[in-house]
Each structure stands twice: as structure tokens, then as C-alpha cells.
């Protein structure tokens, strides 16, 4: 698509006082990145942090666009996948930023999926005690979730994302064209987080997704619309509670069960990827809410039906290979970092789009629910 024919992008503002920024969503943004960045910043130099896969597909066009705008580019390419999210790669990337002689007003661009955004954002936040930072998410999951809101981090032997920063980007450029290069499985996984925003507090959006999901998968105008609504939803929550001391925890709908399943499958992406874990986790959260007489079983069935329709797994029995017993899953849940002072906090729901933060959920009820689910 040429620049002239590109539709005007959609802009979603994230309102965080003096750390406010725009999310720009649309077609052809890689080709326009140089001009967008030159118009909005004083940066003379950028470091582009990317992985081998994304760099192979898109780096040349991005570099060309930046050079054409007079911006010097240093690429910093890491291996794809979760294993790059550790202290070793953080040190490598941070040193590469310093090697490139970037000054504080210059910019680190995270150009990739969630792993790259988390890693590059963390490095940008600590190099020279904080560089300029721009997110250019290339997966659906990163465009609707991880690139928005400023969470960055790496994994350690103690767990995922336990080390990191709240570090807001100064701009998010989400080029919707790149989504065509994703595998169907990767696209679906990102869709789980799109559906999540409907389930948290936008029942109309969930109903719209039930009708329009095919357009989203096929790349119609519904796709940009769904990404924009998702970003707006997340931006609203983040603006209310940047550092997750309250409402932001709603974004963890489906994630407590989901993280336990990811731990149980040793983060083996051939068995389960994050979005799939969240899909199963959201169905479980609705079923558990129904079991606790908080929500109607019909709502749980409606969630399950929609996610199954788009091709996502909705039951733990769809995960290939053996799972540990329910008791072990409970241990993983208890180790989750969202546990405050030992009390079990869960995101539960009163129905579609009526999620809430439930504190002091009895562990025994969760355990017996998981035992039931495993037997079926």
C-alpha cells in the first residue's frame, strides 16, 4: 500500500498527565514511521530492538523510512522467543544502546511482539536512567495489550515478569498491515485479549465481536476498529490505575488460571501459548463464577461458544500432553505474584462485561472446581 492511498490512522490517547501519549493504529505506518517520529520528537538517533523473525520481514522498510527522515538507525537484533527475556539479553541490549552513543533524548524502538516490547522497554528505562521509548508492536497481542500501559520486564528463575519497570512509551505505532504475516494460531492468541476487554466491562463490544469476528480475522475495517476499542479499553484502565494498586488488576481476567496452565506446561509454546492460556482461563473464570452463584451458567456457555468458534481452546482437556493434578495447579496459583499477603485474589464476574476483583476467594472452592474440571 502506498502512502497516498493509506486511510487516516486511528489515534487513541493514553492520559497519564505528563507521561501521556498517543497510540496510532492503521495501515502503512512502518513506511510513515520516520515522518511520525521526526514530527513528534527531537531524536537524531534511534536503536531498533527486534528479533530475527520480525527483522527479516520488516526491518529494511522501517530503517529506510527513518533514514529518509534524517534519523540514524542502529539495529539491535535478538533471538526470537521467551528465552530472550532474561538478565543476559537485557545486559546485551542495554550495552548495545550505550555503544550506539544514544543520548537521553534519543529513542529506543521496540519493534516486535510482547517479548521485544517488554525487553526493549526495560532496557530503554534503565539506559542513562531513561531514554526516549517508542513501541511498534507487530503481533496482535502486543498491539492490543502489551505495548499499552508501560509494563516492561524480564523473567527470572523465580517466575515470569518478576523483574522490570513501569516505563511508558512516548508513542505507540501499530501498523495493522504486519498482522497479515502472523500465523493463524498467533493471530487467534492475540484475539483472546481482544475478547477479554468485552468480558471485563464492555458487553456491547463482546456482542459486536460475536457478530464481526470474521472481519477481524480477514483484515477488514473491523480489524482496526477492534484494535482501537481494545487499546481504548486498556488505556482507560491504565489511566485510572497506572501502577496496579487497584482496578488495573481487572486486566488479569483469565490470567490467574492461565498463568497456572502456562507454568504447568513449562511455557512450551508447542503445547500452549499465552493467549490460548488466557482463553481457557477466561472460560474457567466464568464457569467458576457460575459455580459460586455469581453469574449465570448461560454466560459461561456464551463465552465458551464464541472462543471455540474462532478456533481458540476453551478447556484444559484441549492442551496436548499430561497436566499435573489440581493440587499442583493450586500451588502455581498461590505462587502467582498477584497474591497479596497470602490472600487469594481472583478476577471473577457477574456476567458478560461485569468482571470484578474478588478478594479472599476460598482456596478450597478453587481446588474443588479444578478437580471437577480435570475429571470431566
Amino acid at each position: 500500500m502506498t502512502e497516498a492511498s493509506a486511510a487516516a490512522p486511528t489515534i487513541v490517547p493514553v492520559k497519564l498527565g505528563d507521561r501521556s501519549y498517543d497510540i496510532v493504529i492503521g495501515s502503512g505506518l512502518i513506511e510513515r514511521a520516520g515522518r511520525e517520529i521526526a514530527d513528534r520528537t527531537d531524536a537524531m538517533r534511534v536503536a531498533i530492538v527486534s528479533d530475527e523473525t520480525v527483522a527479516g520481514l520488516h526491518l529494511e522498510r522501517l530503517t529506510h523510512s527513518l533514514n529518509a527522515a534524517g534519523v540514524h538507525v542502529t539495529p539491535i537484533i535478538v533471538a526470537p522467543g521467551e528465552k530472550s527475556k532474561g538478565f543476559a539479553t537485557l545486559e546485551t541490549v542495554t550495552n548495545a544502546i550505550l555503544s550506539a552513543r544514544l543520548e537521553r533524548g534519543d529513542i529506543v524502538i521496540a519493534f516486535g511482539g510482547g517479548v521485544i516490547g517488554d525487553l526493549a522497554g526495560f532496557a530503554a528505562g534503565i539506559a542513562r536512567r531513561g531514554m526516549g521509548f517508542i513501541q511498534m508492536p507487530t503481533s496482535l497481542l502486543a498491539q492490543v495489550d502489551s505495548s499499552v500501559g508501560g509494563k516492561t520486564g524480564i523473567n527470572t528463575i523465580h517466575g515470569k515478569n518478576l523483574v522490570g519497570l513501569f516505563y511508558q512509551p512516548q508513542l505507540v505505532l501499530a501498523d495493522t498491515d504486519v498482522l497479515d504475516t502472523l500465523s493463524p494460531r498467533e493471530f487467534r492468541a492475540g484475539y483472546a485479549e481482544v475478547a477479554k476487554y468485552g468480558l471485563i466491562d464492555r458487553p456491547d463490544f463482546f456482542a459486536w465481536l460475536e457478530k464481526n469476528w470474521r472481519g477481524i480475522f480477514e483484515g477488514g475495517p473491523e480489524r482496526t476498529e477492534a484494535i482501537a476499542v481494545s487499546c481504548r479499553s486498556k488505556a482507560d484502565v491504565v489511566a485510572r490505575d497506572e501502577r496496579e494498586t487497584g482496578d488495573r488488576a481487572l486486566l488479569n481476567l483469565g490470567h490467574t488460571f492461565g498463568h497456572a496452565l502456562e507454568t504447568a506446561t513449562h511455557y512450551d509454546s508447542s503445547r500452549l501459548v499465552h493467549g490460548e492460556a488466557v482463553a481457557i482461563g477466561m472460560v474457567l473464570a466464568h464457569q467458576f463464577s457460575a459455580k459460586m452463584n455469581l453469574a449465570s451458567p448461560d454466560d459461561a456457555a456464551r463465552v465458551e461458544t464464541h472462543l471455540r468458534m474462532v478456533g481458540l481452546p476453551t478447556s484444559i482437556h484441549e492442551i496436548p500432553g499430561d497436566l499435573p493434578p489440581a493440587g499442583r495447579l493450586m500451588e502455581y496459583i498461590a505462587q502467582d505474584k498477584k497474591v497479596a499477603r497470602g490472600a487469594l485474589t481472583f478476577i471473577l464476574t457477574r456476567g458478560i462485561g461485569q468482571s470484578f476483583i474478588a478478594k479472599d476467594v476460598p482456596a478450597s472452592a478453587v481446588l474443588s472446581f479444578l478437580q471437577e474440571k480435570q475429571q470431566r
Copy 2:
């Protein structure tokens, strides 16, 4: 000294909006730390990051005080010295904090000098994306400078403190008793930073130091007074400009020349420690200002006389061993991270207590000044 006989501590507030905190300065604060922390926070667990030297002298008393207040303590002890300020030790300390199962509301205490404060503050800022953090500085330099203002960081192959965070503590407890365990050389090095506050913008304080420095070195009431004025000076600057986009650069008086000398001596503390480099650097800054006809040579002489009186070095010729030629020192100065867009920014002065940020200082003038100094 028993608790009952301790004089009331001096409290200096640091005003940073919702990140405001108190600096508590006085005698017997290690013994009172448990109560101070229990009164001011909800923390149930703390990790004390310290080095072998400080831990050997003071850790038992601090642990006892915290335990007596019902706070669980995990000690994290690293090797003393600048070599602990790197990625490897940062990873070790961060993992030890996570191993200790501290939650977000729990606290990391930096218990040591500048190295420990910078390292522990950085680890506290990234573990769980930000833990509670308290500074308990045990060197004069840390009490009057590095523990105040939230700069944390580590060194890399590219230079000192190039990786880190602005991360404010929620409390600083400066026990003046521990200063009696410092070597005279270490105490003098810290004194250079005390004198710096007078030279920046408090001419009356500098005059007071000229009269009262013996009481400070001997541990009289002048010591607490000097520490309090220093902290107040730094707190004022930091409150005006937390992230060093303007006035905070004044705190670098003497540091541009000083850092170049530290680099030239390979940070070999047997030749030069930071405070000594700052002392020489402040004299050079005053002499260079006089040479540029900004200040009177008498003021430069007055600074030199006072620093020499307390036993600090005031000339590059006092540094043992060979120094590189002036041209190489200029390169170190140009590499300093305070260079913005290639222009040479220096803290110069119009006289005692009249420092200012000079931009676009001609490198040629600095070079010929350094050449003169080396010939003498």
C-alpha cells in the same frame, strides 16, 4: 549510646509530591530503626543489602532492632567496593530479594555507602517492578549526597552509572554514630561534597565550614548540623528538578573535571577516591572560572586553602602516579554523559556560592587550561 539518652534526631523533608520522604539524621538510629520503620510502613519483611565491611560492624544491631519490632530480616551481603556495582551483582541481589519472598509493600534497605545505595536502590526499583525502599547510609558521602535524591545505578564497560533508575527511597535514616568507624581519608572524601553545597549557592555555609570544620571532623554537634544543611541543600535542588533536566546539574560542580581524573586513574581507590577527585575538580572549576574572567582568583584561592586545610588534595600534582596528557583528559570530559548534543556543559562560578550552568564552554579554552595546570 542508649536510646533514652539519644538527642532528638533532625528531620529534613524531601518534597517530591506523592514521592516525598523524610531524611532522619542523628545518633542511635540503627538501634531505633525497627521502631522508625514499623511506625512509618506496613512492611512485615525487609531485605538488608549491605557489604561485608559494614555488615561486620553494624548488621547485628540493625537486625536485632528490626526483629524486636516484629519485622523479618533477610540479609543480602555483597563484596565491598565498586566492582559490586555491575549487572552480575544486580542480578544476584534482585534474585535474592525474590527468593526472600518479599511482596511489593515490603522493603529493601540499603545499608552501606554509595555503592550499596546505588546497587540496592536499583534492585529495589526493578524487583516486582518496584518494592519499598529505605536508605541507611553509613558513609559521610552517602549521608550528604548519594542517599538523597533517588539516583540509583550500576557501571558498565561504557562508563560509571550509565545504567540505572531514578528511584526515590521512602525514608532515609542517617545514623551519625557510624561515621566514627570511617577512616580519616574516607571521612575527608565525604567532606568534599559537604563543602560543595556551600560553593554551589550557600556562601554563608561555606564561611561557617571555614570556621567550624574541626567540630565536624571531631564529631561535635557541628557534624549533625553540617549533614542536615547538606541534605537540605540537595533536597531543595532535587525538589526543583528531580530528573536532572535543569538545575540539578549544579550538583555536578567539580564533577566534570573530577570524573575525568577518576577515569584517568582507572578508578583505582589507592590513588584517588571520588571525594578527592571532586575536591580537585572544584578547585579547578574555580580556577577555570577565574581564568575566564567570571570569578576572582581570590575566591579560587580561598576554596583551595580550605580544602587543603582539612587534608583534601587540591591539585592534580598530588595524585600519585602518572596522568595522561591534557588532550586525553579532554577526551574523557567529552565522553562524560552530561554532554548534550556534543556541546560542552560545565558548572562554573562567579564566586563562592555563585555557581551556574555554563553551556557551550569552548573546548579549546578547557584544553589550554588543563595544559597549563599540567605544566605547573
